[in-house]
């Protein structure tokens, strides 16, 4: 009699955790799909009303004195310039930081420095923006002989600082997971430490490093507060790195407060969000594809 009861109770309690975890996972997926559906619905509304040709123009002026224009090229170019610059600075530095942390430093020093690097990640974007306004922008202005340092270059530098800790930390984890045996085998065969790192360790940690870069890129494309404060905020098509830019994220943050719910201006801002989402999604997808291909070779 007793055995039967406990067997029944055992079966049920075994299933409950699975159900709970299943629900939570399903909720995450529902949230993601729902968010995408919202962006898609409102974004397509804007595309249908404005037309793809007008959207590719370089003039964003929804509240124009004369006729509204909806060209997003200047905004998109701003996003690409800032994110591109940020990754250009952050990826090499992050990778080198990770290599030196895991390969070249004595363990005691690594125990101390790794948390320090991760501490930088805790710095709020607003603080980076303020530091940019007070220190970096005037520095950039004097270094390059500009009258004013609020431009794509300054924004790129600051976003790279924001992105650097996560890239460095994830790369360091990926490199740390490369089996010791692999390194020892390479050294035993006569390779130098540096050659081992470049030819054996990095290629083995490739998918982890790519994941770190994708995460950093997502953050760089979506960074709003820093670009709002230091990117210069001008709607003209940028001609160089020293021109002020208004990335899509800053544009949404500025204009969303004054739009009427459901209006064309409102759905055009959602279109901006949709484009960013698809951009990150596409880059992640392409990177994943290349990693899987090389894994199966």
């Amino acid at each position: 009699m007793r055995k039967k009861c406990t067997a029944k109770a055992g079966r049920l309690s075994r299933h409950i955790p699975r159900i709970i975890f299943g629900c939570v996972a399903a909720l995450t997926i529902v949230l993601l799909v729902g968010l995408f559906a919202l962006l898609l619905k409102n974004g397509l509304q804007a595309v249908r009303a404005i037309g793809v040709g007008a959207l590719l123009g370089a003039d964003w002026n929804p509240v124009s004195y004369v006729t509204p224009s909806w060209g997003m090229s200047a905004l998109l170019l701003g996003t690409l310039m800032v994110a591109g610059l940020a990754m250009l600075f952050a990826v090499p530095m992050g990778l080198l930081t990770a290599i030196s942390l895991s390969e070249l430093m004595p363990p005691k020093l690594r125990e101390f420095l790794k948390p320090m690097v991760e501490l930088i990640a805790g710095l709020p974007s607003v603080v980076l923006g303020i530091l940019g306004l007070i220190y970096v922008a005037p520095l950039v202005a004097t270094m390059f002989g500009l009258s004013n340092g609020l431009n794509a270059l300054t924004a790129g530098l600051l976003v790279s600082i924001a992105v650097l800790p996560s890239i460095a930390s994830l790369c360091e984890d990926a490199i740390g997971e490369v089996p010791r045996a692999l390194r020892d085998a390479s050294l035993a065969l006569g390779a130098t430490k540096w050659r081992t790192i470049v030819k054996i360790v990095i290629p083995t940690a490739k998918s982890g490093i790519a994941a770190a870069i994708m995460l950093g890129l997502g953050r760089a494309i979506g960074e709003t507060v820093i670009v709002l404060m230091v990117a210069g905020n001008s709607l003209a098509l940028p001609q160089s790195l020293f021109d002020p830019v208004r990335p899509v994220t800053a544009n949404i943050a500025i204009e969303i407060k004054e739009v009427v719910f459901g209006s064309l201006h409102w759905s055009s801002l959602f279109l901006g969000g949709l484009i960013l989402f698809l951009l990150t999604f596409a880059i992640n997808g392409i990177t994943d594809f290349f990693i899987h291909r090389s894994k199966h070779v």
């Binding site: 003039d59 002026n61 929804p62 509240v63 124009s64 004195y65 004369v66 200047a74 005037p138 202005a141 009258s147 004013n148 609020l150 709002l228 404060m229 210069g232 905020n233 001008s234 709607l235 003209a236 098509l237 002020p244 208004r246 500025i254 204009e255 407060k257 004054e258 009427v260």
Partner: protein, 296 residues
């Protein structure tokens, strides 16, 4: 242990509720113009010193944000440095609101440049040319050979709209840097030798060391926005009234009505002048008096 925790939690909860319940008046939410935010904050602070039960919250965001909040029912009072547009008044009417206008103060919208700029004054035509992009080099208006760097506000700003309608009468040049607030424009022009910007006079009245305020000429001699008589009489070409809007006529003896009367009182006017703006003129005060008389 659990009992002590429960007891102390209950104690703190009652204490919090008790302190909230002390302010028995309904809170007044004031939102909108960045030009007016410091001024109205000063007025609200002084008002709360006279009336301890009053609960006023002042936030900025821009005139368009304040007006949108008013129409959406999120604000009791909207600060606006421009008049409400006919479309906005219609939207409010469609929502069943009876929007009331109150003239807060007078402003001489000031044109500012770097203190070391060689420019001494500008005409309205030159100002228009600079901001609509037809004049791109300072040597076309008597300055050095350098590219003009334009600073302005964003489209959420009433000052953006007012300056565009009164001076530029066209779209702003696309290279204009759209700063998030008046203080940001002042800070940017302070450090940019080739910069030009516009700001409410309250932000630049006592800042002669930081920025140079340019006198503007409209068919005659250049007139400065720092000249109180010129602004109040209208000789200064870009003078304007700055407003506050209510969704409906206020209830008699409510905190909101008392606050508006305080703003129009001699004490309020003293604070307006101390903040750097100008007091309402005789016509403005007549209009405000008609508004007060209509409150039942």
């Amino acid at each position: 242990m659990k009992k002590i925790l429960a007891a102390s939690a209950l104690f703190f909860l009652t204490a919090c509720t008790a302190s909230v319940m002390q302010k028995t008046n309904e809170p007044v939410t004031i939102q909108g113009s960045d030009t007016e935010v410091q001024l109205v904050s000063n007025l609200a602070e002084a008002f709360q010193a006279t009336d301890a039960d009053a609960d006023l919250t002042v936030t900025g965001g821009g005139s368009a944000v304040g007006i949108a909040a008013l129409i959406n029912g999120e604000a009791n009072l909207a600060n606006s440095s421009r008049q409400m547009k006919p479309e906005e008044l219609q939207q409010a009417k469609d929502k069943g609101l009876n929007v009331q206008e109150f003239i807060l103060a007078r402003d001489g919208l000031s044109v500012i440049v770097h203190p070391e700029s060689a420019i001494a004054s500008l005409s309205m035509d030159q100002l228009k040319g600079l901001y609509d992009g037809t004049i791109t080099n300072w040597n076309d208006v008597g300055g050095p050979d350098a590219e003009v760097v334009l600073y302005g506000r964003q489209s959420t700003s009433g000052t953006f709209g007012f300056f565009r309608d009164a001076v530029v009468k066209a779209d702003y040049d696309a290279t204009m840097r759209q700063m998030e607030g008046t203080q940001a424009i002042v800070d940017a022009v302070k450090s940019d030798k080739n910069g030009i910007g516009y700001a409410g006079v309250g932000y630049v009245k006592d800042k002669q060391a930081d920025v140079k305020v340019l006198p503007i000429a409209s068919g005659g001699d250049p007139v400065s926005s720092l000249d109180k008589e010129a602004v109040l009489s209208g000789r200064y070409p870009i003078a304007r009234a700055i407003y506050q809007y209510l969704p409906n006529p206020p209830v008699k003896d409510s905190t909101l009505e008392k606050f508006l009367r305080f703003e129009a009182s001699p004490e309020g006017i003293a604070i307006i002048e101390a903040t750097g703006f100008y007091p309402t003129g005789v016509d403005d005060q007549t209009k405000n008096q008609l508004f007060f008389d209509s409150i039942r």
